[in-house]
């Protein structure tokens, strides 16, 4: 089969499914589930067909014009290369298992038609980002994933969902503001937005690239991948159903920003890369601290996602810089950043999807209880979920030779080479990561049940457990080359920076200390299945700092209520009073006044008319004689 056809099928299958659901299955939950799952299955099959032999590994591009206005030509097209193939694999693979999970998880929801339609729309939009061959098309699907995220966060229609979905969309729009300026700037600088053409131009001459261009494009990443200071929407987005948190707000959509960086890595100058790295480092560290202040299992995972996204962004920035410094200004050296961030993106997709689905399984079993201090002792009731979840915890903690050990080490390694300060912060963050994940696991799963609902928990049905087990396998082994189809291996083999010799030993030691130390500390400090937070008890100020989330939400809330809304009201007042009231009504008033004056002058007395006549005559004479020139000038 022609590769273009296969890619079209992959892209359009979820759109067709969404359309069919909207037309026929809004009230037929089972049909909606079947359609959505079938679309996800088709996507996975065709993706595997491409990865396991349908594609020779050479970059493949096909494109068609979509719109032409004046000199602007927008096209729609696919660009399949190693990078997009890796992302295609992640999205289709993780996506399918989350679809299957949703079938079990959403079985008692009243609006499943809307949910599964939204899920399909999301798959369509996300695959559009993955395959897009130019920046405008990428932006279009970028907006569309924002829309599907909005729709799915708001699924439950309650107040929390209303606020969270609105916040997510608007925060993303703020990021897109810079993103679109950046894209337009690229268009007017290079005369094209095609990724391939940009590559050709930039391989020979990078002089036209400016730092500001890269940073504007990075704004989009800050919004979509929830970097500081636009990170506030992601924790709130947990108001959506858990499969959505797993698919959109952990594994794929939020990683789209990192993927975008990899797709356009030539557009970032060293100056821009330094700033990008630090944004990532700060996000990683802060989010890890905030995770300690949370009691909600999904919120903890959300902050962990923020932190890991920070790692990826930092890895991109410092990896690219490392490539530049170690190997000069060559094309392939820059790939270190892409390799480091994309590798971590891949392993993160596996283990974070696993953790979220695991939490979903727990929430499902505990009748929508989300507070970890009201769980406890789940390992007896839900052995399979516990095993899978433990695999995820071990992976994210970075236990040596599990998936995240390799990917996180690549990032720590480039950080060590590039900037020692960042390296230390990221290492401490690694310890924190292991600790808060240990806190979550030991409190929720071990010990004794702390509530009615935890006591009555039971293992989830197979649709929920099977995805957990599959993802657990990938979370544990996702760091090894042979787990990946052949076209993806060059990225993991060649692009990811590897430590050698003494550095290699250092990295293993650091990982070992951070992961085992962090987990052990959590085990002894927080205890098994405890009903209260020990940190809160013994050191309220420390806990308070973590819980405060550094007051970002409060600051934005203050800005919206006291600045933006006040200013808007002021403008509305100005509009009503000045323009509508004084200028428009005032003009009418002035006309009326003239009418009154004119009426007064029509006294009917001949004498007064004669006086007016003379006055006019004198005025006319003065004007004709040039006496009034000074006045009128």
């Amino acid at each position: 089969m022609d590769l273009g056809t296969v890619l079209s099928i992959i892209l359009l299958a979820p759109l067709v499914s969404a359309g069919l659901i909207w037309l026929f299955a809004r009230q037929r939950a089972v049909l909606a589930m079947a359609l959505s799952l079938a679309a996800a299955g088709i996507i996975l099959c065709f993706s595997l067909y491409i990865l396991l032999g349908g594609w020779n590994g050479e970059p493949y591009e096909v494109t068609a014009e979509w719109l032409r206005l004046g000199g602007l030509s927008l096209s729609i097209g696919f660009l399949l290369n190693n990078l997009s193939a890796l992302m295609l694999f992640v999205v289709s693979f993780v996506g399918f298992w989350i679809h299957l999970f949703s079938v079990g998880y959403m079985n008692d929801d009243s609006a499943r038609g809307r949910f599964f339609g939204g899920l399909s729309i999301f798959m369509f939009s996300m695959l559009g980002i993955v395959l897009a061959d130019n920046l405008f098309m990428l932006f279009i699907f970028w907006e569309l994933v924002g829309f599907s995220s909005y729709m799915l966060i708001g699924h439950y229609l309650n107040d929390e969902a209303a606020q969270a979905s609105k916040k997510a969309f608007i925060t993303n729009r703020v990021g897109d503001f810079g993103f679109l300026v950046g894209i337009i700037m690229v268009y007017w600088t290079f005369g094209t937005v095609s990724l391939t053409e940009l590559d050709h131009i930039l391989e020979h001459d990078k002089s036209a690239v400016t730092a500001i261009m890269g940073l504007l494009l990075f704004c989009g990443v800050v919004g979509k991948s929830a970097q500081m200071p636009l990170h506030v929407w992601l924790p709130d987005a947990m108001a959506g159903p858990t499969p959505i948190s797993a698919l959109i707000h952990a594994a794929t959509m939020v990683a789209a920003g990192v993927y975008f960086l990899g797709r356009t890595f030539l557009l970032f100058t060293p100056d821009a890369l330094v700033i990008i790295s630090w944004v990532g480092v700060v996000t990683a560290a802060c989010a890890a601290i905030w995770a300690f202040g949370q009691r909600d299992i999904k919120k903890i995972l959300a902050y962990s996602t923020l932190s890991q996204l920070g790692y990826m962004v930092a890895g991109f920035g410092m990896g690219s810089l490392y490539g530049l410094h170690a190997h000069g200004d060559s094309h392939s050296a820059l790939l270190y950043g892409v390799g480091a961030s994309m590798f971590h993106l891949t392993t993160h997709a596996f283990f974070k999807a696993l953790l979220f689905l695991g939490s979903g399984s727990v929430i499902h079993a505990c009748h929508h209880e989300q507070d970890i201090f009201k769980m406890g002792g789940l390992y007896k009731k839900m052995p399979l979920t516990t095993i899978a979840f433990a695999a995820g915890v071990l992976a994210i903690a970075g236990i040596p030779f599990l998936s995240a050990f390799f990917s996180k080490d690549a990032i720590l390694y480039v950080a060590m080479k590039e900037n020692y300060g960042a390296f230390i912060i990221l290492s401490i963050t690694a310890i924190l990561t292991a600790t808060y994940m240990g806190r979550l696991f030991f409190i929720a799963f071990l010990g004794k049940p702390n509530s009615e609902s935890a006591e009555h928990a039971h293992e989830s049905p197979w649709t929920i457990v099977v995805p957990l087990l599959v993802l657990a396998v990938f979370s544990l082994l996702g760091g090894y080359l042979w787990m990946y189809p052949k076209p993806l291996q060059p990225i993991i083999e060649g692009w990811v920076p590897h430590a050698h010799g003494a550095d290699h030993t250092t990295m293993i030691v650091i990982s070992l200390v951070a992961s085992v130390g962090g987990l052990a500390f959590a085990f002894f400090f927080y205890g098994r299945g405890s009903a209260t937070d020990r940190l809160e008890k013994i050191a309220p100020p420390v806990y308070g700092i973590a819980k405060s989330k550094f007051f970002f939400d409060e600051a934005y809330g203050y800005y919206i209520r006291k600045v933006q809304d006040r200013f808007a009201e002021l403008m509305a007042f100005f509009d009503t009073l000045l323009i509508s009231g004084i200028l428009v009504r005032g003009a009418a008033g002035v006309a009326g006044l003239f009418g009154i004056i004119a009426r007064r002058l029509h006294t009917g007395s001949v004498a007064s008319y004669v006086w007016w006549f003379f006055a006019g005559l004198i005025l006319f004479g003065a004007f004709a004689g040039g006496f009034l020139d000074g006045l009128l000038r």
């Binding site: 206005l69 004046g70 000199g71 309650n158 897109d176 679109l180 007017w188 509009d575 200028l583 009418a588």
Partner: protein
């Protein structure tokens, strides 16, 4: 460049339309007339006939709304299928006794007029279908006025002759005043008076500009229409004056800042079908006039007034955008939002490139569809909740899932989500601004996308999410209310997914119209830029 349907399977259909257009040119010219005459005939027969059953009234009015809609779609299909290169087609010329003044009833469509013509047809159809089943008092008179409005609208956008273009506009405008005065919400008398005075003033200023144009170009000898006037010359100092008159006159009619205050109040007060027709279609008269009449011949005047256009457009976007955020009444908010969006269109004109003008036309087309859809749905919401204050409506989403879906879609379309028509116009305008002499304008202009997201999503969240407040009269949107809404939404979708359906004719016409204005720069990127 030729126009083609992008998919080969459509070739047969394309051929069908082209053959129809080529073999029966006279018929197609008559269709243009028919689209104007049929609604007016319906109106007239309703007015003069005696007692009629409700059904008869509805059928008679229905014909008057459906016919122009179908004709406009048919003509658009024929136009796109025939390679006309953006030239005028379906022309019809008749001497109405004013021939010696250079004034004829001269009708026809080019690529610029076509989107507006289709917009008038579609929105008219939707508004008509919605009006027919609305339970207002004196339904017959209501429908008569709407039919007159519809006839006028079809005339405005198919007129090549400038006087008739103006004349048809007055036709539609006067019906609007009456509709507001008789069927408006509370305060209708004051609002109707204000709108009448304000818009008549705008129309008078426009007329002054047009007369000045008529006199200075000597159009009496050549014909005062949009084709011949492009060949004529206006001297530099006069260009500034005439363009200024047209800018302010048309500007008042399009609610250019600071002449916008009539719009939100008028739309909030007007009955829904009138608001749909006015906000959706009739308002576009001003920008359409600027593009078809002022821009092709007054290029020196444009250079003089461009900075002002830019500042006023930014005021439209930012100040009115903020004003929109502060609104609590749904319809007032929609009215303000529609004023705000005119800022984008003016920015497209400010960029003064074939991209900017083409994108502005696409944006106006899409905006017409989405704003009329929103007014329709807002009216349905008002019927259900008995209220338009967004603080007092709440949580109706779970009771009215379909209404929620439609309203969300319409709102997201109007804030420029890709997949809907509005996105293309907006993005084209943004790109064009960066190529204008002052690219920095892009930054404040793009704030608009954040502002519109704020008010749009707030409205959705207030109305449909959260806890239910108050009683709901009637359930979800009924199928007879749904039909016009779906019609508009489908049009938004089709153009959103397949923008070339609109952009190709627009692009050809715009490039034709402005090509000979293009200085040497144009050769490079097939675009013309402002001459400094």
């Amino acid at each position: 460049m030729t126009t083609h349907f992008p998919i080969a399977a459509f070739d047969g259909v394309t051929d069908l339309f082209r053959t129809a257009g080529e073999s029966m040119p006279v018929l197609h010219s008559f269709l243009v007339i028919l689209a104007i005459v049929l609604p007016l005939t319906s109106a007239l027969s309703l007015a003069v006939s005696g007692k009629l059953s409700d059904t008869a009234v509805k059928i008679c009015a229905g014909i008057g709304f459906v016919a122009p809609g179908l004709i406009s779609l048919w003509l658009a299909a024929v136009y796109m299928a025939s390679d006309l290169g953006g030239q005028y087609a379906f022309t019809y010329l008749a001497d109405m006794g004013l021939g010696k003044f250079g004034i004829y009833l001269y009708l026809g469509l080019n690529g610029i007029a076509l989107p507006f013509y289709v917009l008038a047809g579609l929105v008219g159809l939707a508004a008509g279908l919605y009006a027919i089943q609305s339970k207002v008092e004196r339904l017959r008179l209501f429908l008569i006025l709407l039919l007159v409005m519809q006839g006028g609208l079809m005339g405005v956008f198919s007129s090549i002759d400038i006087l008739f273009f103006y004349f048809f506009h007055e036709f539609a405008l006067i019906s609007t005043f009456v509709l507001i005065a008789l069927w408006g919400r509370t305060g209708r008398k004051t609002v109707a008076l204000e709108v009448t005075i304000y818009l008549t003033l705008g129309a008078m200023v426009t007329l002054a500009g047009l007369i000045a144009l008529y006199v200075t170009t000597g159009a009496m000898d050549f014909g005062f229409n949009m084709i011949t006037i492009r060949e004529l010359m206006v001297h530099a100092p006069l260009q500034k004056t005439i363009f200024g008159l047209l800018l302010i006159g048309f500007g008042i009619l399009v609610s250019l800042f600071p002449f916008h205050t009539w719009a939100p109040r008028a739309y909030a007060t007007a009955p829904a079908p009138a608001a749909m027709l006015h906000a959706g279609v009739l308002k576009k008269f001003g920008l359409y006039g600027l593009i078809q009449i002022a821009y092709p011949i007054l290029d020196l005047g444009i250079g003089h007034w461009a900075p002002l256009i830019m500042w006023l457009a930014l005021c439209n976007l930012l100040i009115i955008g903020l004003v929109t955020i502060a609104q609590r009444d749904l319809k007032t908010m929609l009215g303000n939002a529609s004023v705000m969006h005119m800022g984008y269109a003016f920015l497209g004109l400010y960029a003064y490139s074939s991209l900017g003008i083409g994108a502005a036309i696409m944006m106006l087309f899409a905006h017409g569809l989405s704003v009329s859809l929103l007014f329709l749905l807002a009216d349905v919401i008002e019927k259900r909740t008995g209220n338009l204050d967004m603080r007092e409506i709440g949580g109706i989403g779970s009771k009215t899932p379909v209404l929620m879906g439609l309203f969300c879609a319409a709102m997201l379309a109007s804030i420029g989500l890709p997949g809907f028509a509005n996105f293309w116009g907006e993005v084209g305008i943004f790109v064009s601004i960066f190529g204008s002499p002052s690219p920095w304008v892009l930054y404040p202009a793009l704030l608009g996308i954040v502002i519109s997201a704020i008010y749009g999503l707030r409205a959705v969240a207030c109305i449909f999410f959260g806890e239910e407040k108050g009683e709901l009269a009637g359930g979800d949107i009924t199928s007879s209310e749904k039909l016009p809404a779906i019609l508009l939404l489908v049009a938004l979708f089709v153009v959103g997914l397949w923008p070339r359906s609109i952009s190709d004719p627009v692009n050809e016409s715009v490039e034709n119209t402005f090509a000979n204005k293009a200085p040497a720069i144009s050769a490079q990127v097939a675009e013309f830029k402002m001459t400094e």
